[in-house]
């Protein structure tokens, strides 16, 4: 029979279960004998000694194999197998007490190892047939292919109502909705209702169960309630009805200086549980993006949906290394090369940023490179094991720095990145419209490519090395400086440049020639991103005499608007302020530049009137903020501290990295679910005037002037002469 690999998981000692979805729609569980392994590297006599005694320590087998280190040297290693994941971990812990022993391929999950060893991948199309003692699988799919078939998934949405806000208290109602909008409600106070819910999921053959908060709260609460009602034996959302055993909860972690919260995943067997509150792929590529990444990186669908972008990148690098018979280290062990102070200062730099010329500029085009950093990594063969402290003959030399890159072998990171780049470019070509399946796939791949550069410098990256990170930025700086010079030589005025994009005022030559010459000069495709009727670059709020690169807005020649760094783009701006600011910009887009400030002030006045009349819906006043610490750890009485303390008093759980929502009221910040006081109009008025000032500042107006114009009824003539940039 032909079908797809739906899911794979350990199913007891020495056994792996594969859920197979046939073309006819049936889903069956196939069992395979499989024992996960790890590799050991140690002095030869020690490996012999381990080989002798390892079976007495819980290993099921051991054998000597030849494997390459990431550096390219072949080594004799000991491959040790154990009956399951926990036994492997336990055995490894004991063996690694000896400091002469290094482990490889040790932290790869059992299901991935099973698939990788067989050359399979999640959602691969396979033929399954009975063979002596089990099943035999034959791959009928190609990992490189973009035109692959997917099974018809049956989907359902599970939601709940609770007795108290913030997902606390008792479950009051459970709703199971199917495609076609049919919804069945269940009473969670009755044991038989839980049984009937899991029976319904089983009977309908649900392949994907969506929840909101399933990881952090819902599935765990359901399991607990079923247990209390004495029906735990007959309630399960696993396809094989095995016990779920979810612990719930989660953990805080810091990424790029931001504290984040992650729920522990509640993974189901034989079907996918997608928690829409804990789904990394939703905004970018949706489920199609997740499916594609799951196939490409050989990570189960449920894990791909929850894994960080760095985690996906790392999995792909593992796969590349595995296919090239390279032993995969447990974590990065590449110490930084010795550097003098001057050499460190020269190397330790980011992308180049040319400060914008503040003010309003007419007829500007924004041109950027497609995936500049990933393209440079792929083109220049940048990877931890290809870097050299000093370039030797035949090496690719890194501009400004002494570093060299070996050109006689392919890097692991550069290979992985090149694979994603090829795939993204192909998807972009195959996409016929926004948001079709290929567009969603390329968006998901783009997200992973964005992490490729940062992950090179991550201290725990298995194939990372800080010099590889430094080399990438050096190549990118050189590329940007070259194109700035190129644009100026072609008669364009460069008004801003940042890392991989430039903003130029149209000159005598057409911008298509510039785009073409940029692509040729750097070797990476450049494209026209935005053709502005006008664009405005802002100064710093703290020092109004200093421009900042990340705050600008503009109107395109088609009448669209683009904003960066101003209130409308910030997550913590109340929707009413964002909408008002965008509406002011939309009005500005409809008129000439001379009239633009006038209509902006009209819009600001109108929004202020709406606010004062009290006709703004409360949900438009909600402020969302991520907590950087526990509520009790805040030293100052900032709004998010007060709101989170309020939530805790009401029985809710708030942890560092979680996002909370609240409204500023006359009695201080109150959680949006429990607002009892009138909104603090003064607070929202100030926020609105600041948002108005952001878009009027490039026209030469101070916050005080904007405030007086917004409150006043006359004096509009002063706005008829916008002060433009003097460049």
């Amino acid at each position: 029979m032909r079908g797809w690999i739906l899911d794979v998981h350990q199913d007891g000692p020495g056994l792996v279960a594969m859920w197979f979805k046939s073309e006819t729609g049936s889903t069956i569980k196939l069992l395979f004998e499989y024992e996960p392994y790890f590799l050991l590297l140690a002095p030869s006599w020690k490996l012999e000694e381990i080989h002798e005694r390892v079976s007495g320590m819980g290993a099921t087998s051991s054998e000597f194999v030849q494997k390459s280190l990431p550096s390219g040297k072949f080594k004799r290693m000991l491959m040790v197998r154990a009956k399951d994941g926990p036994s492997k971990k336990h055995l490894l812990k004991k063996l690694l007490r000896d400091q002469d022993v290094i482990a490889f391929d040790a932290d790869i999950e059992v299901e991935r190892q099973f698939l990788m060893e067989r050359g399979l991948f999640p959602l691969a199309r396979v033929d399954a047939r009975r063979a002596s003692g089990g099943f035999e699988l034959q791959l009928r799919d190609d990992l490189e292919s973009l035109e692959y078939d997917m099974p018809e998934f049956k989907r359902a949405l599970l939601s709940a109502k609770t007795s108290r806000p913030f997902k606390t208290g008792d479950l009051e109602e459970l709703n199971l909705s199917f495609e076609g909008a049919e919804t069945i409600s269940y009473d969670p106070k009755k044991g038989e209702e839980f049984v009937s819910l899991s029976d319904e999921v089983l009977r309908r053959g649900v392949d994907i169960l969506f929840t909101k908060g399933g990881d952090g709260f819902l599935l765990q609460s359901m399991e607990k309630s079923a247990d209390q009602l004495g029906v735990s034996e007959n309630f399960s959302l696993n396809r094989d009805m095995s016990k779920m055993g979810f612990g719930g909860g989660g953990f805080s972690f810091t990424s790029y200086g931001v504290v984040r919260w992650k729920y522990r995943p509640a993974l189901l067997r034989g079907r996918y549980h997608i928690d829409l509150d804990n789904f990394m792929g939703l905004p970018e590529g949706g489920l199609e993006g997740v499916f594609d990444l799951s196939r490409s990186c050989c990570v189960s669908v449920q894990k791909t949906a929850r894994t960080s972008i760095g985690g996906i990148m790392s999995s792909l690098e593992d796969l590349v290394a595995f296919k090239r018979n390279i032993a995969i280290p447990m974590e990065g062990d590449q110490p930084e090369y010795f550097k003098s102070v001057l050499s460190l200062i020269r190397s330790d730099r980011g992308g180049f940023v040319m400060n914008p010329i503040p003010g309003v500029h007419e007829d500007v085009v924004e041109i950027d490179f497609m995936s500049l950093y990933p393209s440079l990594i792929a083109m220049r063969n940048i990877s931890s094991e290809t870097m050299r402290p000093m370039a030797v003959e035949g090496d690719i030399t890194v501009p400004e720095l002494d570093l060299g890159i070996a050109s006689n072998r392919f890097g692991i990171v550069s290979d992985a990145v090149a694979f994603l780049l090829r795939r993204r470019i192909a998807c972009s070509h195959m996409s016929s419209k926004e948001d079709d399946v290929y567009d969603r796939r390329q968006k998901a791949i783009k997200l992973i490519l964005c992490s490729a550069f940062g992950y090179l410098g991550f201290r725990k990256a298995k194939f990372g090395r800080v010099e590889a990170h430094m080399a990438t930025t050096a190549f990118a700086r050189e590329a940007l400086l070259k194109v700035i010079g190129l644009a100026e030589s072609m008669g364009f005025k460069v008004v801003h440049a940042i890392v991989d994009a430039i903003w130029v005022r149209e000159g005598e030559t057409d911008h298509e020639s510039l785009v073409r010459r940029m692509s040729e000069t750097v070797g990476v495709p450049a494209k026209l991103k935005v053709d502005y009727k006008w664009v405005a670059f802002l100064n710093s709020r703290i020092n109004p005499n200093v421009p900042v690169p990340t705050r600008y807005f503009g109107v395109t020649k088609e009448g669209g608007i683009k904003v960066r760094g101003i209130e409308a783009r910030r997550n913590d701006t109340p929707p009413f302020v964002s909408i008002s600011q965008l509406s002011m910009l939309e009005s500005m887009a409809k008129v000439g530049l001379d009239e633009a400030p006038v209509v902006a002030v009209d819009g600001l006045r109108s929004s202020l009137r709406t606010l004062r009349e009290g006709s703004v819906q409360p949900e438009l006043l909600v402020i969302r903020k991520k907590l950087s610490r526990s509520p009790s750890e805040y030293r100052h009485r900032v709004a998010q501290a007060l709101a989170s303390q309020f939530i805790e008093r009401e029985g809710g759980t708030v942890m560092p990295g979680m996002e909370i929502s609240f409204i500023m009221t006359e009695d201080g910040p109150q959680p949006s679910d429990l607002v009892s006081s009138a909104p603090d109009l003064g607070f929202y008025e100030t926020a609105l005037i600041r948002a108005g000032h952001s878009i009027l500042e490039p026209f030469g107006f101070t916050e005080e002037e904007v405030e007086s114009k917004a409150h006043g009824q006359s004096g509009l003539s002063s706005f008829l002469m916008p002060r433009r940039s003097q460049c």
Partner: protein
């Protein structure tokens, strides 16, 4: 891993706040001149970042001199035009 040395922009911020201590004793018109020159360094941090140095204050001073020379050139042009 990540960055271990400050950016020129970060240096400028720190250096500017140190230099601003002079403001306490400077006469009014020199205060505004100092503020103006420090703003020039901040505005030109992009150029400064191209010259990595263990002593970024040297680069900052060069940026100030460049700005003053450009202003002198502008004045000279204006005078020449007026005189012509």
């Amino acid at each position: 891993m990540g960055r271990s040395t400050p950016t020129f922009r970060a240096f400028t911020k720190e250096w500017s706040s140190e230099c601003l201590k002079m403001m306490r004793v400077l006469p009014e018109k020199e205060r505004s001149a100092l503020k103006n020159l420090l703003d020039v360094v901040s505005s030109r941090s992009d150029a400064g970042s191209l010259v990595p140095s263990p002593l970024p204050s040297e680069t900052a001073l060069i940026l100030m001199v460049i700005h003053l020379k450009a202003e002198l050139n502008d004045l000279k042009t204006a005078i020449d035009k007026g005189g012509g």
